[in-house]
């Protein structure tokens, strides 16, 4: 079964900490995405990557950065966590959209205190 694995289901961090969210896919997909999900706002795209070492800003990149050193791994970095970054973070990947659309990870619920 194809999978996107997010390293943590729940995280609690302190304001100002540097936070790493990891995402790994085993489908050899070129394209990977990070979203945050907040009540009433739906899914908002933070960053995406269409190839190793390539990245593109999404709709809300401020306060975040990403790293993609290997095809299967896409990391989201909160440089200095703030309380307004408390959210559900979802990673997704896709090869050809017509095959499966996106495959999503289970999500990481991050709380910044």
């Amino acid at each position: 079964d194809v999978k996107v694995t997010q390293s943590s289901r729940y995280l609690v961090k302190r304001t100002g900490e540097k936070v790493f969210l990891e995402c790994v896919q085993d489908m050899d997909h070129e394209n990977m995405f990070w979203y945050r999900q907040d009540p009433g706002l739906g899914l908002r795209l933070i960053y995406f990557s269409y190839d190793v070492k390539m990245k593109e800003k999404g709709d809300i990149p401020e306060g975040y950065s990403v790293s993609r050193e290997k095809k299967e791994r896409f990391s989201l970095i909160l440089e200095s966590a703030s309380t307004n970054q408390t959210s559900m973070y979802l990673c997704a990947s896709t090869g050809r959209l017509g095959d499966y659309g996106y495959t999503f990870g289970s999500g990481t619920r991050l709380t910044v205190v």
């Binding site: 959209l97 659309g101 996106y102 495959t103 289970s106």
Partner: protein, 115 residues
């Protein structure tokens, strides 16, 4: 660029009643359309998709959707809902051109099934 509007943010329905979740899209080119479901504290999983061919698409868990090009809609339906269908549902669109890899999502509809 595409956009997706899910007309209802919340839909309550009694168990065993039928339900329709509405989705309208905007695009100047041919599209692929998707419905995803998200159970509490989980990621999204694919319910069904429309790529081409028959406009009536059947998915998992007894759901189906109908693509209507003239009305630019892709409404999701189920004839009889179960408690376990309580979840949030997302409609998504992308253009069908080669090389397209980015989905545009609606804001979601929360379906609450009442016993």
């Amino acid at each position: 660029a595409q956009s997706v509007t899910q007309l209802d943010s919340q839909v309550p329905v009694f168990e065993e009643a039928p339900v329709e979740l509405r989705c309208n899209y905007s695009s100047s080119v041919s599209v692929y359309l998707f419905w995803y479901v998200q159970y509490p504290n989980q990621g999204l999983q694919l319910l069904l998709k429309y790529l081409s061919g028959s406009t009536l698409v059947k998915g998992i868990n007894g759901f189906e959707a109908e693509f209507n090009k003239s009305q630019t809609s892709f409404h999701l339906r189920k004839p009889s809902v179960h408690i376990s269908d309580t979840a949030e549902y997302f409609c998504a669109v992308t253009n069908s051109g080669a090389g397209s890899y980015q989905l545009t999502f609606g804001k979601g509809t929360k379906l609450s099934v009442i016993p």
